[in-house]
Symmetry: C2
Subunit: 400 residues, 2 copies
């Protein structure tokens, strides 16, 4: 399949070829493609071949590449596949294979707008039970539209960035007034993020069928959440400080093209959705693994998500809102039906009332020094594993 | 005061000198300072004087200037004041005075993150009564923190941009299921927007007292709102499509420095706020005028706002969220106690039940072709009027 040596079980085989931005020593950041334990330093390879647009790889973000649109994405993917499969390219590529252990991976793109959805029925039901125990867990709108909101683009950070425990206001139900202090209920959310390449025009909705024309690929997202801040602040305008301190994303953007054989039909939507949400109803078939201080604590399955990514894009633009290159929209927490498939610790520990054991210690929410690593992969029809790599972060103490 | 002829009642006297981005014919967009009916084309003036950083004015946005920080903002203001007051500068400046009627004003800065607050007690109370008639209008958190949420930065548009009527889902209380179609309850929100220049560091809150180190100035904001879309979608994660189709801002950014003598003490906050929200408790003393198809329908006063802009910034960053150059945060709708001081049409028409008469026609919400222009000005201690100019927009029919 490829002339490059690949370790067993690598997330980055010759069918994947995700793109990211790396820094090697003191050199300027630029774009690479992951293959096995290496990356291909694309700028010098493209430059030596005198490719049109080779300077696009000599950039500190993927944004210029993303803006090129689908035909260029496909042409680039075909070029990459030829580089790694065709033995004739060995001499041109081998000098530019860099061990991934030698580089620092940066934020892969500059985030324009960040939207967070809420597309898992299991997660929305669990959170409804925990946040609003006295009413129906799913609100009346939930099965009619993919509920979402805008998050903070400026605090989307690269995998590996320390997460400083946020401080803010929280009010336990039994207290009369709020107090200020570090969050005591710091949590994760396992999500899949969709990266927009091709912009749309203000006033013109993006149809469900145009999803692959606009979205280049996916990243892993950990939407860190301070549940105590969130519970006090979120009415009536939604989550704000409970989420805005940090959102971590994985460094490698995996293309939809690489995932195209790794999809499953959407679960049945009942009641039927309005026409603008009908069409391309499939989900990427991705399984996540959540490692808390190295211990596997959950394996959320993307296949059970109620709303498809194409529906999310159609909904967020149905009012004429434009999308831009670098827009990121995330699925919302991915939670499966089984307890060990829940994608947040508030669900795994059922609001903190049912601690889980991590390396022999009881845990409900995150403690200082805790590290969470989320991985994910899809299995394509031929059995090839298309990995998303990982997104990781460690909790640093609150600033006093 | 100035050697430049000024028309009576101009918003842009020699104490104001707001900055904006203009396009003159086919020339590249660049930065100007407004004075009376003219603007000073700053790039050639600064270049002829061989000023450091004169290339900053030869830019299509104010972002590079905003990033310079407060000492540079003050030095620039002193230079501008000298240009317009000192007769000796006439020969250097006069050739670069451009009639404002000859240019197109563009979006003055590239918006990084956009946050919208909800800082008027009158407005929050009115909306609570209209959206949640069966419960207390102000929710328990409202007087403890400035409630806010993130809006869509990519759809902040220049004044004068047509507003295409958004379509989407709405469900009247009496219907069983939602329908899709153009919004029937299209509204405005009169707001003041605060423009961040100096960035902050992730993990480090911005204190109340550091407000003027980070915020350069203000713009007028019209946060167009589709009330029917908003009412159906907004639980539990807040407003999304009801707001994200467009937010218009005025072209001239008025500096805090120009407004420094035009402030009033904040209304009393009771209960007392937490220590991180204590400190610089004043509001700019701005009065707005709302013109609907040319008729003055409301004059909201900023002086009655419950939360100060410094408190909003301290709150939005108290969890360690960083701010970036180009961040825009808006006050939320400005509504005064009197009926003719309400800053939205849902309040002026009390949910559509009490139409108002505009040029002899009954109006509740916006009709296609309607135009709304919001102006605003502050009165400095010496009596000088510091105008914000205007933000305007006309409703275009929904895309079918």
């Amino acid at each position: 399949m490829t002339w490059i040596d690949l370790p067993d079980g690598t997330p980055f085989g010759p069918d994947n070829l995700p793109l990211g931005v790396f820094r090697l020593g003191d050199e300027e950041p630029r774009i690479g493609a992951a293959i096995g334990d290496h990356l291909i330093d694309l700028a010098p390879v493209a430059s030596a071949q005198m490719l049109d647009g080779s300077q696009l790889f000599n950039q500190p973000t993927l944004n210029a590449f993303l803006a090129l649109g689908r035909p260029a994405w496909k042409a680039t993917r075909e070029w990459l596949i030829d580089l790694v499969r065709n033995e004739n390219n060995r001499d041109a590529v081998e000098p530019h294979l860099v061990p991934r252990s030698a580089v620092t991976m940066l934020l892969p793109f500059e985030v324009a707008d960040y939207v967070d959805f809420y597309a898992s029925e299991v997660h929305a039901t669990n959170l409804g039970r925990l946040f609003r125990p006295d009413s129906e867990p799913l609100l009346p709108n939930w099965k009619h539209l993919p509920v979402g909101y805008h998050g903070r683009a400026g605090t989307v950070v690269a995998s590996g960035t320390d997460i400083v425990r946020p401080s803010g206001q929280r009010k336990p139900p039994t207290a009369d007034t709020p107090t200020y202090g570090p969050s005591q209920r710091l949590d994760i959310e396992v999500e899949l993020g969709f990266v927009v390449g091709t912009p749309s025009k203000l006033g013109t909705p993006v149809s469900v069928d145009a999803f692959e024309d606009h979205v280049y690929g996916v990243v892993l997202v950990n939407d860190w959440s301070a549940r105590d801040l969130q519970a006090w602040e979120y009415v009536p305008l939604g989550p704000f400080l409970g989420k805005s301190f940090a959102t971590s994303i994985s460094p490698w953007v995996v293309s939809l093209e690489a995932l195209k054989d790794a999809t499953v039909p959407l679960p049945r939507q009942d009641p039927p959705v309005l026409p603008y949400l009908q069409g391309d109803l499939k989900n990427p078939d991705i399984t996540f693994e959540v490692h808390w201080n190295g211990q596997l604590v959950s394996t959320p399955p993307y296949s059970e998500m109620y709303w498809s990514p194409a529906q999310m894009l159609a909904h967020l633009s149905v009012n004429g809102a434009s999308v831009r290159t670098g827009d990121l929209y995330a699925s919302g927490t991915v939670s499966g039906n089984a307890k060990d498939q829940r994608g947040s610790f508030i669900e795994l520990s059922w609001g903190g009332r049912e601690p889980i054991t991590v390396n022999g210690e009881e845990r409900t929410f995150l403690q200082d020094g805790d590290e969470v690593t989320i991985t994910g992969w899809a299995t394509a029809s031929g059995g090839a594993r298309i990995g998303l790599g990982e997104v990781t972060g460690r909790i640093a103490p609150a600033v006093s």
